[in-house]
Amino acid sequence: MKTFSVTSPSPPLRARLRAWLRASPFLWVTLLILLAAALIPVFSGSASLREELFLMAMLVILASSVNIIMGYTGYVSFGNIVFFGLGGYLAFYLMQTFHVHFVLAALIAAIGASVFALLLGTPILRLRGAYFALATIGVNEAVRTFVANFEPFGGSVGMFFNYEMYTPYGGAKSAQWLAYYAIVFVALLTVAVSFLVKKSKFGLGLMAIREDQDAAQVLGINPARYKVIAYALSAFFPALAGAIFFFKNGIIEPGPAFQLQRSIEGLVMVMLGGYGTVAGPIVGAVVYERLRSFLITSPTFSSLHLFIAGLLLLLIVLFVTAGLVGWLRQRFPVLRRYVE
């Protein structure tokens, strides 16, 4: 772990950034692997593979984001999907009603969701442990039921695009590719930010809060500010993912947008891969999604998939608390130098 001296003046941010990147090739290797995987459908032109990778990239975003608040900071956000839905709705509304360009709409939506997280985070992050988890469920349900009654957002029916909506993007088909590039870009960005946060002084502060909030405060960390920034970060990327997902779908409804089930699946991925690691949520998302699609398509297991997902989660929680990456790091200490 890098130490930070208090007395010597800290080097400029860019130099520090460069030093981190040189010190840990892990980030570059990870990003290159992800990018290489993401480019396969671009060259083969396979739409089905693209769909599968789109979903995986989205899950990587959701899992890595929730890992910032849950894995680094120790605050279990059960309802983090609220930002996904909110981002989706805001962007959809802007695109449909004001014909805002998709990229701009997604950015505005993500900033909106982060501001919502900042405002909401200040009071609810004072709650600890189970109370915080319950509050996030409450927030998600409150927003979901609100949106389901909110007429400008289409109420319980939701909103949908006409086909002309995709014309500025070169038609529906190329809009699908645009959405794919966008989600891959956001996934890479999320992973990079997740890594940089973990390696930064800010991340160190978050982990100190996770281990012992009171002690962290005594050491000069402002827990309220650290936590709320982490929360806003964990809202930003899911909101982008929501904007892209529903842009691609062309239809948005309150149920699928604020699905608590998907939120908790995100937690399962983080646990499966390894809580508080950078690689964990990626591994978890990919493994979980592969497993789920295998179970759903296999004739023997298709109806059992929910049961098996539950059983798997229980086994991880009871026996492999550190997750796959965490377990590997414990088992092979040499990996700790290379795998974050």
Binding site: A130, G138, T145, S303, G310
Partner: protein
């Protein structure tokens, strides 16, 4: 707005509130004794619905007799869930127990969807209605409330007047000290989990005599239970019953004045606000 409609929906809401309160008491009992938030509460409520339904449909048993059997079944299910999912991680951080009970939730819903599918079922129970002027109250609701009161009284008698009940309270108070006094804490924890689950099953059984349901219906009541428990203070059974009544009344009365879709919005906003302002609950002691 006429006064009769107001009285009628207040009574309706009040009665439902008792049944909500029963489910919430189960949740709060488990939390009070072992600081575990049981995310498998909803599916267990649904199991209660289906147990009563199956006993009545397959065996032709009277639903209220079926409820007695369901009660034992609930106790057993709770003890099993405790030993399978909770016992090993009882001292772990909240995240672990939340995820462990959530995994039980997934398993019950997963198996339940296969066995029962998601087609809505309904029990056909008709006990007539009590009438006074334009206000009428369904017999099934009256019986449900009576049973809810009876169960609550039973629970209190058990917790405060029996030796086992006192042991459970001792474990809730201080597990280590209780252990030193020769109480088998594992057994008490398992029993509390069983009783909490049993309360959920009874509440589900009673709900099945009032409304149609599917295996997924428990989720709605689980969320209501969270709201109630927070209203009444986590870990406080009396608070849960009162919270249930408050929520039931609120639901009954607000539907008269605002579109029904907005009622849950208000419920959840109240829930979050109470958590922010008074996490110990409106009725909970100062913390």
């Amino acid at each position: 707005m006429n006064i009769e409609a107001l009285i009628a929906s207040s009574i309706d809401g009040l009665m439902l509130g008792f049944i909500y309160g029963l489910a919430a008491m189960g949740l709060t009992l488990i939390f009070g004794v072992m600081k575990v938030i049981n995310l498998a509460h909803g599916p267990v409520i649904a199991l209660g619905m289906f147990t009563v339904y199956l006993l009545s449909h397959q065996w032709g048993l009277n639903p209220y007799l079926g409820l007695l059997l369901a009660l034992l079944f609930g106790l057993a299910v709770g003890v099993v869930i405790y030993f399978v999912a909770v016992h090993r991680v009882i001292n772990a951080p909240e995240l672990t127990t939340l995820l462990a009970t959530f995994s039980v939730n997934l398993m019950i819903i997963g198996l339940g969807t296969i066995v029962f599918t998601t087609t809505p079922r309904a029990l056909d129970v008709n006990l007539g209605a009590l009438r006074s002027g334009n206000i009428s109250v369904l017999g099934t609701r009256v019986v449900a409330v009576l049973i809810a009161i009876l169960v609550t009284a039973g629970l209190y008698y058990f917790l405060y007047r029996t030796r086992v009940g006192k042991s459970i309270r001792a474990v809730a108070n201080n597990r280590a000290a209780a252990e030193l006094m020769g109480i088998n804490t594992s057994a008490m924890l398992a029993l509390s989990f069983g009783i909490g689950t049993m309360l959920a099953v009874i509440s589900g059984g009673l709900l099945s005599t009032l409304f149609s349901f599917t295996i997924l219906s428990g989720g709605v009541y689980e969320l209501k239970s969270f709201v109630i428990v927070v209203l009444g203070g986590l870990g406080n059974p009396t608070g849960a019953l009162l919270g249930g009544i408050v929520l039931g009344l609120l639901e009954g009365v607000t539907t008269l004045y605002i579109p029904i879709g907005w009622v849950p919005v208000i419920e959840y906003i109240v829930f979050v606000l109470i958590l922010m302002v008074r996490p110990a609950g409106l009725l909970g002691g100062a913390k």
